[in-house]
Amino acid sequence: MFSGIIYSIAEGLRGLRRARFSTTVSVFTIFLSLIIIAFFLIVIFNVRFIVLQIQSRMELEAFIDASFSEEQIEILKSQIEDLQGIEQVNYISKEKAAEIFREQVGHDIFEILDENPLPASFQIRLKPEYRSAALAKQVFENILSLDGIDEIIYRHDLLVLLEKYMHIFMLIIASLGGLLALSSIILVSNTIKLVIFSRRKIIEIMKLVGATRGFIRRPYIVEGIFQGFFGGGLAALFVYFVLKIVNIEIPDLILIDQRIYWVLVLLGIIFGFMGSIIALRKFLRY
């Protein structure tokens, strides 16, 4: 068994050397596809970060019935805190509201009106998993059903819009990424097909002397995996150095999840593996 695995790896590497040109072509194709996929992943990661930032700043403002006493407000606050999806509740008294008004507008409210019309309110922050349009609406309805809440303001339409565009954006990126992945896999499969064709005589002899299906197929799978590994590794190195240069030129412009380099290598290996499996299914039925 052990000598069989060593044989498969040795034959796989020998195959890479034998078909140098086509191996270079498929490694390069995987490399190029993964660079573009890396670009997509970085864009997705950064756009998603921005969307999360916007969502995290989105707060619900619930206005309290003017007739409620301080004790009733305290009870109401704990009722809200007990609801599902609530991260934090801040009480803004009428006086605090007037102070905020002065900070924002630059005038004291009493300079304009005789009395303070601003109602007391709660500023409510949702837990991250509740910051979607559908769940925020649910929380909104739960709070509104509480006795003592007059009105709630929040940017539901903005949330809906954000989610919609994010969805379309993801769909486009995923489709393009999928097409690129497919083209890489097809090219690897083509390279392996050429190798199988050039080695049809040895394969025939292997069959005749009793080599198992797995034994015949393994070197080609190893070959595909190596092609993918090299393509993925090169793409990871390329992306690493490009981002390093960009970050020196314009620091903090791009956010990077460090796992991306491993993802690229892994994707390369998957492309190579899939390519060889497809080639074997088509051209080495045994």
């Binding site: 068994m1 000598s3 069989g4 044989y7 005589k201 040895i202 025939e204 002899i205 292997m206 069959k207 005749l208 002397v209 009793g210 080599a211 198992t212 299906r213 034994f215």
Partner: protein, 215 residues
């Protein structure tokens, strides 16, 4: 050991087999004789289960064409030695490596490979040529390498498909004599040939095949 019973078989690019009956007992030497296109190679293919009967059955050393699973076929073939007219040697390897190849693919240990290859090369009289590349050899020598490769797995039977077809008359005789020698040590042989001359005076079991039917 080998039993082919009432077999009919159709396959792409051939006339097909109409009615084949054949048996080979352990240690037996059987000639399968018939003109080109009569179906001799197909009979051998039935035995190493490269083609399957549409009716009837083939039994080889406990394997039955009716019940064998695809993944068992390599293990059946390890029990057989197959030799062809065109030798089917790997031209980029030495004599030794060609013979060792069939042990490599069956995961045999390196020491064991060496022992068995050297022994079988001595048996076919090629010890002195073991380091030569296979393309440097004469036709007769190449066929001996192919026989050595077929023998190295210690098969129960050698299947020889027109193996003298590419050889001069002197080499032909040598090869048949070598097969006789191998048979004398207990390995059964089924030799397909169109050439009646090879059979004359050898006093062996002969099965004739014409237009896909054994007579």
């Amino acid at each position: 050991m080998i039993e082919i019973s009432n077999v009919r078989a159709k396959y792409p690019g051939g006339e097909g087999l109409d009615m084949i009956n054949l048996s080979v007992k352990p240690g037996e030497f059987v000639y399968l004789i018939g003109p080109s296109g009569a179906g001799k190679s197909s009979v051998l293919k039935l035995i190493y289960m490269d083609i399957f009967p549409q009716s009837g059955y083939v039994k080889v050393d406990g394997y039955n064409s009716l019940t064998i699973k695809k993944r068992q076929i390599p293990y059946l073939r390890r029990r057989l030695g197959i030799i062809f007219q065109d030798f089917k040697l790997l031209t980029d390897r030495t004599v030794y490596d060609n013979v060792a190849f069939s042990l490599h693919v069956t995961n045999t240990r390196r020491q064991e490979i060496k022992r068995r290859v050297l022994r079988v090369l001595a048996e076919v009289g090629l010890s002195h040529l073991r380091s030569k590349m296979s393309f440097e050899l004469s036709g007769g020598e190449q066929q001996r390498v192919a026989i050595a490769r077929a023998l190295v797995n210690e098969p129960i039977i050698l299947l020889a498909d027109e193996i003298t077809g590419n050889l001069d008359p002197a080499s032909e005789e040598e090869i048949v004599d070598l097969l006789e020698k191998i048979n004398a040590k207990g390995t059964a042989i089924l030799m397909a040939t169109h050439d009646d001359r090879l059979v004359r005076g050898r006093n062996r079991k002969i099965v004739k095949i014409i237009k896909g039917r054994t007579l």
